[in-house]
């Protein structure tokens, strides 16, 4: 970088806030196009059945209805929702048709789209459509899926869609030689990202230019443009995906859903702009669910608590179809079962099961939250069995700094080898204990105070980030002397307009005010990969550093000519360029025309952030209520761009994790009906639930893999929450012998465990 950095590391207030706080954000529902029509979706009310017919005659006769699209309108073959990440051919038979065709497989599956003058008329018309479905038995759990009495995809012959293996060393031999083994079955309930802004699109087809514009892009606009081009038979450059303000993703928003195809399709079909914004009930049954898993896992250790091996099997309930990133959670749940710990022998298998429920996808910390619950519970159970202090056991087994890079288990298929890069797990654990006040709080372990039992626990985690292959940035010196940064990353509410401005300002050596950041839309750069896998800051930020270097090199001869000096005599500062004698030329005087440079940051190695999280809970045995009295976390991210936005993500991530641990659950009945279809049934954390959350973010071990030294950090602290809280509850209720093996730890579930434990 050309100047000592002043912006990176500063808790700058966000530029986004100025519009968002004044109600001037522009979210997709705020976009309107002249002459636009409105869409509404008819969704299956039956979980599993043969779709015999859709009669839309009455709906079509309603004043203001322009069209009712069903499977037959989409052409043959029916376009399918493709797999974006790890597109294994074995998974293709499980891809979702854009509209249900012949069969419906979950409640909420789109069957028809009504296009009308207003959304109210479109919704009125839904009631006039007659759908004929012959019900089939619904598969709603693992036993039914495995029994295969009913198959979602009979031609496949099984409800198991895929099997992944994570292997390292020789687990069976290690188990044979071990002093101690314990095998348990754990379950994590189905829940979801549930971002606050409902999904939506406005699509417009320009017949003359043969161009499609789609507002409402998020997360992975470039990948979705590719999918849309392929499914609509267009070239990529015929499509502009436009991102406005985006109300949260957490992995779920921005993935390609059937609606991502159907709204643009309808717009072209009718030759008029079409708008659709989902309602919350629709969201709860249509957007990706996540997390549901059953894990039968065994741990092997020496008598004095050195973990030797893990082996076992995971079954993820992937719902009715494999969607764009549906394979990530099952594969991650195997590879990341060892987490931050030094475990030499691993053999884990993950199966993904198809069931008659909403399809699943990634949710912040996918396939990381779940195995952390399993592993941290097994460590505490082992410590208890062996009469050891669980804290000592963690210290004993964490990957030490001098063992890095430390390889994780190798995954197949879609072989993936990865290593923990650089970090000091022990230092982070110690810092976490100090921040938390462990020594005082641990004295309360298992005590009953005013009718509530107290428990404390700590756990350690890793967070992978910086998925490749690359990110592009283009920086333009405008003729007014300002710099416009164009980026392939996407904004999902994490504040990248600000942090990318900080990175660009430092890389160019100019004040923050002189930089404007443009991102998200496909028109800005040639290629982009967006925001997932905690990658935006590392990948997009590094691309900015490279583009800034390239731009300054491009400006160097221009400046040398203006100053009449040698190339190597040119020095850039905040205002422009100067020579050794102090003669200066300002940026706005360097060139009459804009000067632009583009760069691509390529990366094949993941970054890993390391951290610990400690929790203090109090459990009311009469109600089963778990109160979280205090949480403190530490995390090393290598390099912090903006401490305020980073800590904000950490605290928010912890509270999301507490929602998934204590409150949130999608409940289905035996017929595959979703019983938690409103926010009054699906409980999210509110302001009164978890008042005491503290996070500490540190810069201990910069990443060796990028010019910023930064590590992905947007998912982070959600990962350990389930395991740590469950262990704290077990400590609190140790006198009753309660050992949680399932989430959520909701009042009825905790109360039930207590009833079963009390003789």
């Amino acid at each position: 970088m050309s100047a000592p950095n002043r912006l990176i590391g500063s808790a700058l207030e966000r530029v986004e806030d100025l519009r968002l706080l004044r109600g001037r954000g522009q979210f997709v529902a705020d976009i309107n196009r002249p002459d636009q029509l409105h869409a509404a979706f008819l969704r299956s009310a039956v979980a599993h059945g043969m779709l015999r017919g859709v009669d839309a005659a009455e709906a079509l006769s309603l004043d203001g209805v322009h069209a009712v699209l069903t499977a037959r309108d989409l052409g043959s073959p029916m376009p399918l929702l493709p797999i974006r990440l790890q597109p294994l051919p074995e998974l293709e038979p499980f891809c979702q048709p854009m509209l249900a065709d012949e069969k419906v497989r979950y409640v909420g599956e789109p069957v028809a789209v009504v296009i009308a003058d207003s959304s109210a008329i479109a919704e009125d018309a839904l009631d006039l459509i007659a759908v004929d479905i012959d019900p089939l038995p619904a598969i709603t759990n693992r036993d039914q899926a495995e029994a295969a009495g009913t198959l979602l995809f009979p031609e496949h012959g099984s409800n198991v869609s895929m099997r992944w293996n994570a292997v390292k060393g020789d687990a069976d031999a290690a188990f044979e030689a071990a002093d101690y083994t314990r095998r348990e079955t754990f379950t994590v309930q189905r829940h979801a990202a549930l971002f606050m802004e409902p999904r939506g699109f406005v699509a417009e087809w320009d017949t003359d230019a043969e161009k499609l514009s789609v507002w409402g892009a998020a997360k992975v606009a470039f990948a979705n443009r590719k999918i849309l081009a392929a499914t609509m038979g267009l070239e990529r450059d015929q499509i502009d995906m436009i991102e406005g303000d985006v109300g949260g993703s957490f992995g779920s928003r921005g993935e390609f859903y059937p609606e991502d195809f159907l709204i643009p399709f309808a717009a072209r079909h009718l030759g008029r702009p079409v708008k659709w914004v989902e309602d919350r009930r629709e969201h709860l049954m249509a957007a990706n669910h996540a997390r549901q898993i059953e894990c039968d896992v065994e741990i092997a250790a020496t008598r004095d608590g050195k973990i030797l091996a893990l082996r076992g099997t995971n079954w993820t309930d992937n719902g009715a179809y494999i969607r764009t990133n549906g394979s990530i959670a099952p594969r991650n749940a195997a590879q990341f079962m060892s987490g931050a710990y030094d475990i030499e022998h691993i053999r884990l298998t993950s199966y993904s099961l198809t069931t008659n429920k909403t399809p699943t996808g990634t949710y912040r910390g996918p396939g990381r939250f779940e195995p952390d619950f399993v592993r941290e519970r097994l460590i505490d159970l082992m410590a208890k069995d062996l009469g050891l202090d669980p804290l000592d056991v963690r210290r004993r087994n964490l990957v030490p700094a001098d063992k890095m890079p430390y390889p994780l288990a190798t995954m197949t298929p879609f072989e993936s080898v990865t290593s923990l890069d650089s970090g000091d797990n022990h230092a982070l654990l110690d810092r976490c204990l100090a921040e938390f006040g462990w020594d005082e709080k641990v004295a309360l372990q298992g005590q009953c105070i005013d009718g509530r039992y107290h428990g404390v626990s700590v756990g350690c985690f890793i967070e992978g980030g910086a998925a490749g292959p690359s990110e592009d940035a283009r920086i333009v010196l405008e003729s007014d002397g300002s710099f416009a940064v164009y980026l392939g990353s996407a904004g999902v509410g994490q504040g990248i307009e600000t942090i990318m401005g900080q990175i660009a300002g430092d890389a160019l050596g100019v004040p923050f005010e002189r930089v404007r950041v443009h991102y998200g839309s496909t028109a800005y750069v040639a290629e982009g990969f967006g925001s997932f896998h905690s990658r935006s800051t590392v990948m997009g930020g590094s691309a900015i550093v490279l583009a800034a270097e390239a731009l300054l090199e491009k400006l160097r001869p221009i400046a040398a000519a203006a100053l009449g000096c040698a190339l190597d005599a040119v020095v850039f500062d905040e205002e422009g360029a100067r020579d050794a004698d102090g003669k200066a030329v300002a940026f706005d005087a360097l060139s009459d025309a804009p000067v632009s440079a583009e760069a691509r940051f390529e990366n094949k190695k993941y970054t890993y952030s390391y951290g610990s999280l400690a929790a203090h809970v109090a459990v009311d045995p009469k109600t089963g209520q778990v109160d979280v009295l205090d949480i403190a976390s530490t995390k090393d991210v290598g390099r912090m761009i903006n401490p305020a936005t980073l800590n904000g993500q950490s605290v928010g991530s912890i509270v999301q994790g507490l929602g998934g641990t204590l409150l949130e659950e999608f409940v289905y009945d035996s017929e595959g009906q979703l019983l938690t279809g409103t926010l009054a049934d699906y409980l999210l954390p509110t302001a009164t639930d978890f008042p005491n959350i503290r996070s500490t973010v540190l810069e201990l071990a910069p990443s060796p893999h990028n010019p910023l030294g930064a590590k992905g950090a947007g998912e982070g602290e959600i990962i350990p929450v389930g395991g740590v809280i469950a262990n704290a509850v077990a400590q609190a209720l140790a006198g009753f012998g309660v050992e949680p093996m399932a989430l959520p730890l909701s009042p009825p579930n905790v109360w039930r465990m207590l009833q079963e434990a009390i003789p």
């Binding site: 954000g25 109210a120 949260g248 957490f250 936005t645 928010g652 926010l679 509110t686 302001a687």
Partner: protein, 159 residues
């Protein structure tokens, strides 16, 4: 059906279907898109507006029910330029990430502090518990509202 009311200090008259919600009326008829719809069933609070001093869910209110009322939206709480003290406190404490729930948080907090400028942390949490935020974990929102109390005490002293 006709309804006449005041929005952010301006008189408006609308002629709308009886079933149109106040939120849809504000957004689609009057162009005030700062009011957001997060659930449309009265749980998330993103659509909160102030009706005669009270924080109200505009998704559960019909536009025609607003007849004769004085309504304030997030736009009406925003100065011509820059931020109000409450908004500035939100920014300072990083009390928003995606910003979608934020207008409802600002209107709810404004209604609270206008009535109770001395509200303590528990009271602030209690009142904000009707508004869902998925990004921040609420900790910085509560800090922001507590800090903004000073500005409301000052306003109360001046009035």
């Amino acid at each position: 059906m006709k309804a006449a009311f005041e929005v952010n200090g301006e008189s408006v008259e609308v002629d709308v279907e009886p079933r149109l919600s106040l939120a849809d009326c504000l957004r689609d008829v009057l162009g005030l898109t700062g009011t957001h719809l997060g659930c449309e069933h009265g749980v998330c609070g993103a659509c909160t507006v102030i009706v005669d001093g009270q924080a109200v869910r505009s998704c559960l209110t019909l536009a025609v029910q607003a007849d004769g009322e004085r309504i304030t939206t997030v736009e009406g709480l925003s100065p011509e330029a820059g931020l109000s003290p409450l908004q500035a406190a939100f920014r300072k404490h990083h009390a928003l990430q995606c910003g979608f729930c934020t207008p409802g948080m600002v209107t709810t907090a404004h209604a609270l502090l206008s009535e109770e400028p001395d509200a303590d942390a528990d009271r602030v949490r209690e009142v904000l518990s009707g508004n869902i935020c998925r990004c921040t974990g609420y900790v910085p929102i509560v800090e922001a509202v507590l800090e903004a109390r000073a500005a409301y005490r000052k306003m109360e002293g001046e009035s």
